[in-house]
Symmetry: D2
């Protein structure tokens, strides 16, 4: 089992560019958060699509690492996002990932994205990660 | 017809956060470029997936605006990315968009993403934009 | 509100080629079933991918018609399927749809597909339907 | 190299349910054809979405087998279809596949779908197949 402390330490070591915060993970799921400021907005006063994709991709990464251990070279192979509602420009984005399958070489999960404090999701993501052959015990 | 100068002016006005450069657009297509530096990398010394999605989303936006005119509220409704090969960590990312259909309310296109100077694509994207009802003449 | 009887009558009238059975619908969801016989199999003794897509597409159609009424020209605009586990060759396929959004011109939902009597899903689908402009009251 | 005769014989042996015809394959591509009759139609007098997905899935399968050899257990892992234009109800559906990558464990390609004799595509597909570990020489 990976602890929250180990996860945070690992992520800041291998992925210092990351701006998302891990809120929770475990049991084939993860919840992450991304602050929204000027850099995250796009025309129309809404959060840019790529920021939502970033949050979803990170939520998947954390959920998978929570299952298979801290394997840095686990990489995204595909991601599909559907935008559902306009995110608030003044709320953090929350990503809630639930894994659908963790196989030997592929892991797949879905992510619901929310503006913090809202109950209706702003986007839905399904993504697949490739797990390196040597990474599983 | 939108000129390159009008496109650049429009984009820097409505989307100052954008880091992509428009290289060319017209005839249902667009080519854009994104510099790759420390901020664009992820574990494994490669360009992060969200940067590739950003470039693809922007290439679609430019190709569509080149067809329908400078309509800021044209927004992404869905995007599917498949990662094909590891991008170079020291090359710009180039996105080449070709529109598949520009309808009354939806426009859809595909984007091939490359590391500059390479011939094999690093990722493939299909994305859909929603066009606001009042925006077409 | 559309009754089960009205739904069945409508579907057999406009879509006589359909082989799926509606089990339930309402409250932004639907459950449908498809028999599996020789025609539904593919190499490896498993249910063919297109059969799974058919079930998912139909589950989305029923869930959406249950919300917006019996509008025949509601059509699929996009669908993404991820195959998760090998379906049983001797079990019906069950599709359970949950709508993510029903907007004015687009409805979107996800579908979990199961082999009957199994708890782990065999595939996951996200699909979008276009709703004709004149169809909503 | 797989010959056309070997491909046809293999397909009719492992996949007798298949209704598509192989027109050509090789060089990371394939062209296939599906007759359109009553069974292939859906409300609105158009070809049903699942038939288009079937043709695309088959075109990918043939293109991949043409590259890696006749490996029956090569299976679809994901497929994204975008519907672009209404297919003719009285024309065959043609699927033209171009592979984007054939890796050790995954192959990915795109398929343009047409109504025979038309130049604008009716749908666009991107799909991924998993290649069994022991299948490559």
């Amino acid at each position: 089992m990976v602890s929250k402390e180990e996860m945070d330490k690992f992520l800041s070591s291998v992925y210092p560019q990351n701006k998302c915060i891990v809120e929770a993970f475990g049991d084939q799921s993860a919840t992450v958060r991304h602050k929204v400021g000027f850099d995250e907005l796009r025309p129309g006063g809404t959060v840019s699509g790529p920021v939502l994709m970033t949050v979803a991709d990170f939520a998947l990464y954390v959920a998978i690492l929570g299952e298979i251990g801290l394997v840095p070279l686990t990489v995204t192979t595909s991601l599909t996002i559907n935008f559902l509602r306009k995110p608030s420009s003044d709320k953090d984005i929350i990503g809630v990932c639930r894994l659908l399958k963790v196989g030997k070489s592929l892991a797949i999960g879905e992510v619901a994205l929310y503006s913090a404090d809202k109950t209706e999701s702003v986007a839905h993501v399904v993504g697949t990660y490739s797990i390196p052959p040597s990474s599983q015990s």
